[in-house]
């Protein structure tokens, strides 16, 4: 919650979007929690920082919903880690959530871009 980012241009995630990001990350293959967090940070070009407490809670929630499954395995650098992978149900949810997201982005864009005439368009403060 109160994690201070390494640089100020990182932003916290919107509630609900974390699930989508996790599911998307797992499309590439099974991954452990630390890897998921790092991956989200890296692929958002160091902008989206995941609070680790929230990450694990989200992972647990998704596991409870049977969208992802988990088992203990060994990481690339030979550490014991809990690996999460996408279930068929999770894959289906990903498509649904993604289209939902797209609709949201479009709707937001329609409104915001319309009124964003005199501001810097690159400013991502939300």
């Amino acid at each position: 919650m109160s994690s201070r980012s390494r640089s100020d241009d990182r932003i916290a995630l919107l509630q609900g979007t974390l699930d989508l990001l996790i599911l998307k990350t797992l499309v590439l293959g099974p991954c452990h929690g630390q890897g998921i967090g790092r991956s989200i940070l890296r692929r958002s070009e160091e902008v989206l920082f995941v609070d680790h407490g929230s990450l694990y809670l989200a992972l647990q929630r998704l596991e409870d919903k049977k969208w992802i499954s988990a088992k203990w395995g060994v990481s690339a650098n030979n550490r014991k880690a809990r690996f999460y992978s996408l279930t068929p149900k999770g894959r289906q949810q990903l498509t649904e959530k993604f289209s939902e997201w797209q609709r949201l982005v479009r709707a937001m864009g329609l409104i915001l871009e319309g009124g964003m005439l005199d501001g810097g368009t690159d400013n991502q403060e939300v």
Partner: protein, 869 residues
Amino acid sequence: MFRRRRSEDDFAEEIRSHLELEADELRREGFSEEEAHRRAKVEFGNAQTARERFYLRGRVIWFDNLVRDIQFAIRQLTRNPGFAVVAFLVLALGVGASVAIFAFVDAALLEPLPYASPDRLMSVSESDTSLPGWPLSYPDFLDWKAENKSFSSLDIYTGSGYLLRTRSGAEPVHGERVSGGFFQTLGVRPLLGRDFNPGENQPGGPNVTLLSYGAWVRRFGARPEIVGQTIDLDNEAYTIIGVLPQSFSFAPSGNAEFWVPINKLSLHEHSRTFYNFAGIGRLRDGVTVASAQSEVRAISNQIQQQYAITGHDLNAGVTPLSEVMVGDVRPILLTLLCGAGLLLLIACVNVSSLVLVRAENRRREIAVRGALGATPARLVKQFVTEAVVLAACGSSAGIILAATLIPVLARLVPVRMASGMPFLDRVGLNVHTAGVATATALLTTLLLAITPILRLPFRQVHADLADGGRGAASEFWSRLGANLVVFELAIAVVLLAGAGLLGRSLYHLLHVHLGFDSGHLATVEIALPSTLHQNSEQIKVFNNEVLQRATSLPGVESAGLTSRLPVQCNCSTDGIRIVGRPYHGEHNEVNERHVSPGYLPALKAGLIRGRFFTEEDDASRPGVAVINQTLARRYFPDQDPIGQSIANDEGGRPSTWQIVGVIDDVREGPLDAEIAPTEYFPVNQTGDRSFTLAVRSSRDAGALLPEMVSSLHEVNPNLGVSNEATMVDKIDTTQAALLHRFAALLVGGFAVMALVLGVVGLYGVVSYSVGQRKREIGVRMALGAQRSSVYRLIIRQAAWLVLVGLTVGLLCSLGTSILMRRLLFGVHAWDAVTLVGVSVLLGLSSLAASFLPARRAASVDPVEALRAE
């Protein structure tokens, strides 16, 4: 619901692994080892918080809701304290009564015998068609023991009395003579010392005795060194060889203090037809009661042929010992259990109908909450929680009530009778009782939770909101509520009828024709030490002195001596023949009583023919007898018994007795037993050494008792004087009177509670319906209906319910009374007086209960009622 959750350890492990992976990555990015770890931790945020959040995840909502539901339930209950208190009390009463009664049933019927493998213990007896289960004769016992293969051991016991020499004189004490293996058969080991040795059991064996625990503590100060010392019983020295454990009791022996091996037999006891010893046997493994019975029967038949015992069809009986021990109390206990069960049922029905009324009133609230998003499951859970809270409080209070009731009930049993009920010591809250209590609580909860759930259609939210909680659903409620009330009233009728029948039985029992006047009679038992008064002449002198002293006490009108008081038992029997008639060994059992000349007149027994005994009827004269009317009718049906003679074959006494008088039947046996034929012999011709003094006075008999005792001690301080009591007390504390009184009192208590609950239930239903129909009544009155017709409207509705309840109840009570006919005395199961009385009682109380709401209905102001809408 019960999905397996991930353990916290597993989660902690995952966090650890995360931190290591993160540190690895940071190291790769060029941070020092230490810095990498530090940063990994900082990055993660607070690991402890994460763990806590993991722990609470999922649980917290469930728990929060539970706490909220309980708080809500308690708030709801306290908001309506009348309902809460009534429901709580009713439940506590129902559960308390059932659990308390069950505790007795459990102790008496489920584990009646405190011995090793009690189910293998049998009572072994002789029997014939007319008299099942009479004692064995000693020779028969020896033969049965030697020849049977069904029992691993077979033993006998018989009650006995001794005069114990104490520092202050002589005291009559209860003893029990038993065969040597008696305690091994029961599986009881002495607490101190040893059991009987085999040699001590043989005729002519040494005088040894085992002490009961009570005797050891009371008489010998619980000194262990008492073992090996000698005491004086009947002027003979007996060596104490051991002390029996505290837990040991043997109901047929009452509170016998001295246990002595059977190694001296009286003259009669050698006889094969002197039946004096009760038998117990332990069945071998795998032998059934039936096969043991048929084997012993075969042996018995063979003995009968061998010794040419003819006449009565001698047979053998083998019945479980528990049957003999608790057979008398079983029907009463089962009746009480049923009564308590019915009370519990009525309590549950009552409370659930209360819950129902409340649920109906909350219909709108439920609809609102449903509309605001509460799921049906959530609403149901709330009702269940309320039921659980209510049932839990009620049941725990009930269990506490049971725990306090049990000792109170146990204390109601008089000591004299309690000694025959060893199971009383074990009555209490144990595993069984706790199990039953829990089951009762669960059932109650279920009932209370299910009633409103079944009734509340959680989905009809819209309809209910619009309707404001009236209409079809309420109609349904009044129908269901009415059904429940009918059920309650029917149960109340069953209990009332049962109580009425038991009450009338008790009345009949206590007013049964005694054949003598029991008022103003004081009695005391006397035993003569054998050193005193060796011959019959001396005994006669002594008897006269006792009687003279007694009659000289102030207020005393007359006095007499008897070998046994009336209304005790049909025992001390004699086998008789009629002199001058052919005899084929028929078993003519009659009660035998030895009485002084003044005894029968003192009882105010009615003389029908002939005369009472006189002072002249003593040892120097030929034997004379007075018989009762039953004996005269049975053995001299067409003939005048006066002048006839009866004979018995007991040695050492005149064996023929000429009948000089016939008296009206004096009830010698228990109150509820048939009158048995009885013969009376003059005490001066029998030379008894122990008897009971009966004194009739014009004063209060109880006040006379201490004076009687002290005047007897003046005659001789070494006399054994015991059991002083008035005749009325003696009768009141006989088993028959006590059992009937118990049954009548307890079932009566249950019935009163059931009546109150049923009537309150009726009141609830009628007032609810009046409340619901207020508008209708208003309309009727606005249209010109008279108040009297409103009364009629309401009372008619109540009358229907009562009528149905009464009819169902009366039909059921016929069934239950037939089931408990063993407890009835002098009344039929269909006793009209009782049934009419119950109907009137219920009808009147129901009328009263429906009158109040009817008056409320009649006083409805039509303008008000209509404006309220």
